[in-house]
């Protein structure tokens, strides 16, 4: 038994090492200090595969901005942290960026769950977050700018294309079981039934777990579903790794794009780098940007990217363009406001318009979503997409879907008098769809 505590005891060691954490205290921002840009993308773990390139994109954009003399006469400095694909760690890292590092803006997140995890922190500490990935909508935060597509900027136009141009009458909605596919498929079922009068028997919905690898049964079901004589298409919200075995099985069971086209909302150039695309030619994807977009701005961006990554085969994709737009919007807003102060930038950025990479321009709307063109591309055998259709003009992102009962009456407007993310136009109050009435009803009882 230990009889003396004069000697160093283990518990003292860790107490000492712990305290070293608390001692690090932030320096106060000075006028000539660099402007700090937080980058919150997973660099390890399962999401690293998608998010690492976004970190590199932001760093490249910062480098370019600094080469042009910085912003407001100050240099930009990237503060990169790694949330390691761990959702609670996302919140912790966001807090670190805002409270410890005192960054002026954060570019980050990929998955919905990571955004949901970070959201309360960003709101509490009044930060700015630019979120670059297409998502399920149903959200508008005062502190978040959604530069990826809302459902009406991706899935609805794609459905219109398939229905009007391809003549699809029968629909398979296949997705990974998480919130983006769930919401997208609910919106699409409602839309197909309301707008095109599609019978419920002509819609097949299927959910699979993350990383699902055995698609034999499901593809066989799709094949059967599609052989009833009506033109059939698959709307795929299958996520990440599950796509490779899915497409392999499709090709091997002989589901050809010309018979049953698959339109994917989560498969871009980055995802295709791991797939032999030979058998997939003709399957579709809907995005707001493709690497194959034929504009000089895009070719410049690609060249810069290839030079930055020093990889001839490096590809660009839609979320990278979203960061490109978001970053330029933020710098523009900072210039307009003359300061990096969050509240000033928040007000200044609404209405800011910057060029996108597909030859048009993107404007920040009052609901913190942006305007985007919608492009439909067909997969080529070189892992690229060939653009077969695009919306005639840009589409403004809709935070609250018109096709979901809970959000039909909601709008978001962060401009001065309203400043509300979930304003109910039916009862004229801010704070959700049913709150006011039901509270009254409860009082009346």
């Amino acid at each position: 038994m230990i009889t003396s505590h004069r000697k160093t005891h283990p518990s003292l060691w860790f107490a000492a090492s712990l305290l070293s954490l608390g001692v690090a205290s932030p320096a106060l921002a000075q006028e000539d200090d660099p402007i700090k840009v937080g980058v919150l993308h997973s660099l390890s773990g399962t999401m690293a595969i998608s998010e690492t390139v976004l970190k590199d994109t932001v760093e490249m954009l910062i480098e370019q901005q600094n080469a042009e003399g910085g912003l407001l006469g100050r240099q930009l400095e990237a503060v990169v942290v790694d949330p390691a694909s761990d959702w609670p760690l996302f919140a912790e890292r966001a807090r670190e960026l805002l409270a410890q590092e005192e960054v002026d803006v954060i570019f980050g997140n990929w998955t919905s769950v990571s955004r949901k995890s970070v959201l309360p922190v960003v709101e509490e500490l009044n930060g700015l977050l630019f979120y670059p990935v297409q998502y399920e909508g149903e959200e508008s935060s005062e502190n978040v700018f959604y530069t990826g597509a809302a459902p009406n900027q991706q899935s609805i136009p794609a459905i219109n294309y398939l229905h009007d141009q391809v003549g699809v009458e029968r629909w398979v909605l296949a997705g990974t079981d998480y919130v983006f596919p769930r919401t997208t498929n609910r919106i699409l079922s409602a839309y197909l039934q309301d707008e095109f009068g599609v019978a419920e028997a002509d819609i097949m919905v299927n959910y699979t777990p993350f990383g699902h690898s055995d698609w034999q049964n499901i593809v066989s079901d799709i094949r059967r579903f599609g052989s009833e004589g009506k033109k059939t298409a698959v709307v795929s919200t299958i996520n990440g790794d599950a796509n490779v075995p899915f497409y392999t099985e499709l090709a091997n069971q002989g589901v050809d794009a010309a018979d049953i086209p698959v339109v994917a909302f989560s498969v871009g150039e980055q995802e295709l780098t791991g797939i032999d695309t030979g058998p997939l030619v003709g399957h579709l994807a809907a995005w707001n940007y493709f690497m194959s977009v034929d504009t000089d701005a895009n070719y410049d961006f690609i060249d810069a990217w290839i030079e930055y990554t020093d990889d001839e085969m490096a590809v660009t994709n839609d979320p990278m363009e979203a960061h490109y737009i978001g970053f330029n919007m933020w710098t523009e807003a900072v210039r307009k406001a003359g300061t990096t102060d969050v509240d000033a930038v928040k007000d200044a950025i609404i209405g800011v318009t910057v060029p996108n990479l597909s030859g048009g321009s993107a404007a920040m709307m009052p609901n913190h979503h942006i305007t985007k063109p919608v492009l439909i591309g067909e997969i080529q055998d070189n892992g690229q997409f060939d653009i077969v259709w695009q919306t005639p003009s840009t589409v403004a992102g809709d935070a609250w879907s018109d096709y979901l009962p809970g959000s039909r009456d909601l709008i978001a407007d962060w401009r001065a008098p309203m400043r509300c993310g979930n304003f109910n136009v039916a009862n004229g109050s801010c704070g959700g769809s049913t709150a006011a009435e039901e509270a009254e009803a409860a009082l009346a009882e």
Partner: protein, 548 residues
């Protein structure tokens, strides 16, 4: 010349016209003389005009331009259409039409579309692709199919006959009957007759039902379904009867299909687990890095394919020994570096090898890439083998199934028939006794572990044909592998085989009504409960060794 509506591409019906009877005539002529050079060559101006008509935005206009090319009797037409179908017909900034030979990277080698001469590399910036969509793709394939119906190549003739099922209409019916008479190949004749019968049923011919009755082809079912709800009561009744017997057969086929799906999924489980059955089952070593050894095998396949570009089949076959070797060496390194220090401490071994698995994963991420790697499937493993019109078995999975059985038999032979197998069994049963009989136990340990690890590498080679080759590959199989081994009974290779295959089949039977997620959960819970009931698995080991 009169233009006829193109019958087999509905989407072009509205605006498109094509002179297929002309083609048919031309084809008939060709089939007699077998001399394609009879085609004339347009002057270059005319050819350029034909191609220029393709370089428009509207797909309707493109569709018309395709027809114009089909109608032109240019001998290069088939190459142009094929290049257009493949997305390789492009136009340079100078207005020249070129065919891209390889479209990876930023600069692509090209050849002149008119003369066929190679022009060196061009930047993708300078090139504009003549895009096609799925409707156009359908049209192109149909056009090529009609040409191919008279091709000297039998495979092409068969493919084109296959394509015409359910796409015959009045205009095609007459000439088709003649082609059937002329056809020398049974398969082509059978397919075209069926196609014609479907057409006749659509015309309300009662006799056509009898011809269709035995067929399980989905197009036939669609046609019969339509007829069953049609106006003619006689035809409707006959069609309904025919459908009844077809449905009956389809049920059987579906059952066979589910069984195949199950066996194929099971074979993957067996492959992943069988190496573990050696290291865990026979040696008693818990190797949590087993999944990563599988991953190494898959990456080896990728690496070999990189070394042999353009020969994916040869590369895949060479990967079998290579994958075995790489994983076996990695296994030896793990055994020597970690496991030998933890003899008799299975729980610590579990933790240490888990650490190794993390290191291997991150190593692959850092050294190679966090991205998935593309492993090409060779031609002979793509597609499926049609047993009948309703049942086709995917080739890649069939190869994997056969491979799994082969590996199993090989392992059984090694364990039962070789000196090593004898020594392994001796060492596992009584180490001290074996050593006193002169068996070098350490050497046996190393070799056994190498064998188990090498087999994991083989699993990786097979899996590279089915799923992602990425750093997480191994993680996805480790729990399943352990489940299979424990369920089958530790130390029993037969148990692993039976457990793997039956779990695969159970899973696939459950999936259609429970959904993929729930099926997996049900199987897991079932195994957990089963182990509680029979802790030693399906085929428990008997005797003292079981008390380890």
């Amino acid at each position: 010349m009169r233009n006829f509506p193109l019958p087999w591409a509905p989407s072009t019906r509205a605006g498109g016209v094509v002179g297929w009877p002309w083609l048919l005539l031309m084809g008939l002529l060709l089939s007699v003389v077998h001399f394609p050079a009879a085609l004339a060559q347009e002057t270059d101006d005319q050819a350029v005009a034909l191609l220029e008509a393709l370089d428009v935005d509207s797909y309707v206009a493109k569709s018309e331009a395709v027809e114009a090319i089909v109608r032109s009797d240019d001998e290069r037409a088939r190459d142009w259409l094929q290049a257009l179908l493949d997305g390789r017909l492009q136009r340079s900034d100078g207005g020249r039409f070129v065919v891209v030979l390889d479209n990876r990277g930023r600069d692509w080698p090209v050849a002149d579309a008119l003369t066929g001469e190679t022009l060196g590399e061009m930047s993708r910036r300078e090139l504009d692709r003549i895009g096609i969509n799925n409707a156009l793709r359908n049209q192109l394939r149909s056009a090529l199919a009609v040409v191919d119906l008279y091709s000297p190549d039998l495979e092409r003739r068969r493919a084109s006959a296959e394509r015409l099922l359910g796409e015959v209409d009045d205009d095609l019916a007459g000439p088709l009957a003649e082609v059937i008479e002329e056809a020398s190949d049974d398969r082509v004749r059978e397919r075209l007759s069926l196609a014609l019968a479907i057409h006749r049923l659509e015309q309300g011919e009662l006799e056509a039902v009898a011809e269709l009755e035995g067929s399980l082809h989905p197009r036939v079912r669609v046609a019969l379904n339509r007829a069953a709800t049609g106006d003619d009561p006689q035809v409707a009744i006959a069609a309904r009867d025919a459908l009844g017997s077809i449905e009956q057969q389809l049920k059987l086929n579906r059952a066979a299909e589910t069984l195949y799906f199950g066996l194929s999924m099971g074979s993957v489980l067996v492959l992943a687990a069988i190496g573990l059955a050696i290291t865990f089952g026979v040696m008693g070593v818990i190797n949590m890095a087993h999944g990563e050894l599988i991953m190494l095998g898959a990456y080896t396949t990728w690496a070999v394919q990189q070394l042999l570009p353009g020969q994916p089949g040869l590369a895949l076959i060479l990967s079998i020994p290579a994958g075995f070797l790489v994983s076996a060496l990695a296994g030896v390194a793990i055994e020597r570096g970690v496991i030998q220090f933890l003899k008799g401490r299975p729980l610590e071994t579990l933790l240490a090898t888990f650490g190794v698995s993390l290191i291997l994963q991150q190593l692959v991420r850092t050294v190679i890439s966090p991205q998935n790697r593309t492993v090409v499937t060779p031609e002979w493993m793509s597609g499926s083998l049609a047993v009948n019109d309703a049942l086709s078995l995917t080739l890649n999975r069939m190869v994997v199934l056969g491979f799994a059985l082969l590996v199993f038999v090989g392992l059984m032979l090694v364990m039962r028939r070789t000196r090593l197998g004898l020594e392994v069994r001796a060492v596992t049963q009584n180490r001290a006794m074996a050593r006193s009989m002169g068996i070098r136990a350490t050497r046996v340990d190393i070799l056994t572990f190498a064998l188990g690890s090498g087999v994991a590498g083989l699993a990786g080679v097979a899996l590279s044909q089915l799923t992602n080759v990425g750093p997480n590959l191994g993680q996805n199989y480790i729990i399943d592998s352990f489940m299979v081994v424990v369920f089958g009974g530790v130390g029993n290779l037969w148990g692993t085989l039976v457990a793997g295959l039956s779990l695969g089949v159970i899973n696939q039977i459950l999936e259609p009504w429970a959904g993929a997620m729930l099926a997996k959960i049900i199987v897991l819970v079932f195994i957990i409960l089963f182990i509680q009931k029979r802790p030693r698995g399906l085929f428990p080991q008997k005797g003292r060794a079981a008390e380890g």
